[in-house]
């Protein structure tokens, strides 16, 4: 490795390690340390309550479902923004980023106002028997909302730089629109889609601000783990129980992301030459 683009390998490595160590690993290590100092019995007592188990399943189940929806919706959005030309395309493009910039609490309150039974959208859904605010559907909606930009923004540059020729080759070989999408385009996009999925998933798992407003936080029904953690912190001086829940979330998130990563590597097996 002679000609390096960035000068000072030592310096850049140092900055990288300091960043990872000080800003990412240190707080996580403190969390692990704190929770590890509690005995297994405390752990079990904290995690095995029905309320916590329920919140865990909602947090991860909801996040997985939201990430899947984001992946599909994001693919559609990115596709339209990249491959089609229509009036106000640039404006739409800019709007995609809004969930990034909006304080999540604002997003949560706005969504609640819209989907509450008397809200602008909620009043039309109410007669259909669909209630969004204060239900698990609402939790899902908030999670989808905050995760969508991740998928769109990871896909967009890849779609833009994608060669058109393989699609044209497929066309001349007799493939129909669906076959071209399914057999040619989707495999080329799959690694990027998975990256977007992982990002949206991570975001949804950690989401707090917007969810707590729309969910109504009904124990055993619409309560997410981050909320439980905050409650445990608020309820007393001891940070132990909160640390346990935090550690559980951390471990579960890590496992899910590792799984996505493995899937991604398997998916990219054809790019490795040799």
């Amino acid at each position: 490795m002679r000609n390096r683009a960035l000068p000072g390998f030592g310096l850049s490595l140092g900055v990288t390690l300091a960043w990872l160590g000080g800003i990412v690993l240190l707080p996580l290590a403190a969390l692990a340390w704190k929770s590890a100092s509690l005995g297994p019995a405390t752990w079990w007592a904290q995690v095995s309550t029905r309320r916590v188990l329920h919140a865990l399943s909602l947090s991860f189940g909801g996040a997985l479902a939201a990430a899947v929806i984001d992946m599909l919706l994001g693919l559609l959005l990115a596709w339209v923004l990249v491959r089609h030309r229509f009036p106000l395309r640039r404006l739409c493009d800019a709007l995609v980023d809004l969930p990034f910039a909006l304080p999540t609490a604002v997003a949560g309150i706005a969504l609640t106002a819209l989907y509450a039974p008397e809200g602008w959208i909620g009043r039309w859904l109410q007669p259909l028997g669909v209630q969004v605010a204060y239900t698990r559907l609402g939790v899902l909606l908030a999670m989808v909302f905050v995760g969508l930009p991740f998928v769109v923004r990871t896909l967009q540059p890849v779609l833009e730089s994608l060669e058109r020729e393989p699609e044209e080759a497929a066309l001349t070989l007799g493939a129909g629109p669906w076959q071209r999408f399914r057999r040619v385009l989707l495999p080329m996009l799959a690694p990027t889609l998975l990256t977007g999925f992982a990002l949206a998933l991570a975001r949804a798992v950690g989401e707090y601000g917007s969810v707590i407003y729309i969910s109504g936080n009904l124990p055993m029904r619409t309560e997410i783990v981050p909320l439980l953690i905050v409650q445990k912190l608020d309820s007393g001086g001891d940070t132990g129980p909160a640390a346990v829940l935090g550690a559980v979330m951390l471990a579960a998130s890590l496992l899910v992301l590792l799984a996505v990563n493995a899937l991604q590597r398997w998916n990219r097996r054809w790019t490795e030459a040799g």
């Binding site: 393989p166 044209e168 080759a169 001349t172 070989l173 007799g174 054809w270 030459a273």
Partner: protein, 387 residues
């Protein structure tokens, strides 16, 4: 199957990519579309493939309207410059693609597909590579996979878009001969798009030279080289010298000399451009008249020597190509004075009635225009030239 292209036009906004292009391609013929970039050759190819639509014109294949068919239904095999292989599929899956996407009723059985793939890979000499991915192949191998993939659908027309453009020079030359033989043995009507004249002249039965969306000339490789129909073709194909001249009283006034020879009446009093290839500039045999010149540069290129000359008269620069043997026999060096003959000049008169005329000057009667030196003559109503 024969292809008849009639009056094709394609515009992109104000830019005319194709202007009324007509061309007949015989069954089993290998036609090369040759031209610089932007000449419209790729546009024509994409229209034939169904990837682009013309604004005007028709294309018929054995009487059937090709343009009415969707690209999917045309049975046209297309090979791209950058292979356009499906990177996520193995070699065998790439080749089988065109068979697998057929509607269920027309799809061959799994075993038939496998047999067909094996046969095609044998044909393109890639047996044993079935399970590799494109990223694990060399450029030449990838292009052969692309060819096998295109052949799998048993196309009635094969289109090659700069197929060797991304390959090393050596691989390119080897693949050329191989592809030519393959095309002959299949008897497949083939259109090759290229900007490489060597490729076109070597592979094609007929060459179509294109420029700015128009066809400049259609002919066999020999015709294209020996009898260029337009100044563009003369300039584009091979190496060329161009001299500007004027025809007056049955003489060609060229760079300070008056040359006699057969000149048609219609060229009288017209400005012409005179073109000749370096090999048509020869040393005058001993005792024969010729044009005095001085060698300004000698460049040995293998058995041939490229010689830059300054002609007496107005000092026009031209290039000749002589054999190494000839150069050493006459002990020629830079600075040597020589007498040369211009064997054959192709004259093009442009303007209202473009015309082409082959002129063989008589060197024994050529005279310098010394008496008129310094005077100006009118070359056309717009141009004054000093003789």
């Amino acid at each position: 199957m024969g292809i008849t292209i009639d009056g094709l036009a394609r515009r992109y906004g104000a830019f005319a990519a194709l202007e009324r292009v007509s061309l007949d391609i015989a069954d089993g013929e290998f036609v090369a579309l040759l031209g610089p970039s932007g000449s419209g050759k790729t546009t024509l190819l994409r229209i034939l493939a169904g990837l682009d639509d013309p604004d005007e014109g028709r294309v018929r294949r054995d009487g059937e309207d090709l343009l009415a068919l969707d690209a999917r239904e045309r049975h046209v095999g297309l090979v791209f410059q950058h292979y356009a292989l499906f990177a996520h599929m193995t070699v065998a899956d790439n080749v089988a693609f065109g068979l697998r996407v057929r509607p269920r009723s027309q799809r061959p059985a799994r075993r038939e597909i496998a047999a067909r793939v094996a046969e095609l890979l044998k044909r393109v000499q890639l047996e044993g590579y079935e399970r590799r991915y494109p990223a694990q192949l060399s450029g030449g191998q990838r292009q052969r996979v692309a060819l096998a993939r295109a052949l799998a659908i048993e196309p009635s027309l094969l289109l090659l878009d700069e197929p060797f453009g991304a390959l090393d020079a050596q691989v390119r030359v080897a693949l050329r001969g191989w592809l030519r033989d393959l095309q002959r043995s299949l008897g497949l009507t083939t259109v090759l798009v290229t900007h490489d004249q060597e490729e076109a002249l070597e592979m094609a039965d007929r060459v179509v030279v294109m420029n700015r969306g128009r066809i400049e000339q259609i002919g066999t490789p020999a015709q294209i080289y020996r009898e260029p129909a337009t100044p563009f073709v003369h300039d584009f194909i091979g190496r060329s010298n161009r001299l500007d001249g004027y025809v007056e009283h049955g003489r060609l006034l060229l760079s300070g000399y008056a040359l006699q020879g057969e000149l048609p009446m219609m060229l009288d009093d017209r400005a012409v451009s005179a073109w000749l290839r370096p090999e048509q500039v020869t040393l005058a045999p001993r005792g024969e008249a010729g044009w005095p010149a001085r060698i300004t540069r000698l460049q040995v290129a293998g058995s041939a020597v490229r010689v830059a000359l300054t002609l007496a008269g107005q000092g026009a620069q031209i290039e000749a190509e002589w054999s190494e043997e000839e150069v050493s026999r006459h002990a020629l060096a830079e600075g040597s004075a020589v007498t040369v003959q211009l064997r054959t000049l192709t004259l093009f008169a442009e303007g209202r009635e473009p015309s082409r005329h082959v002129f063989r000057p008589r060197h024994d009667t050529m005279v310098p225009l010394t008496q008129a030196a310094g005077a100006t003559v009118d070359i056309g109503p717009w141009l004054h030239r000093k003789l």
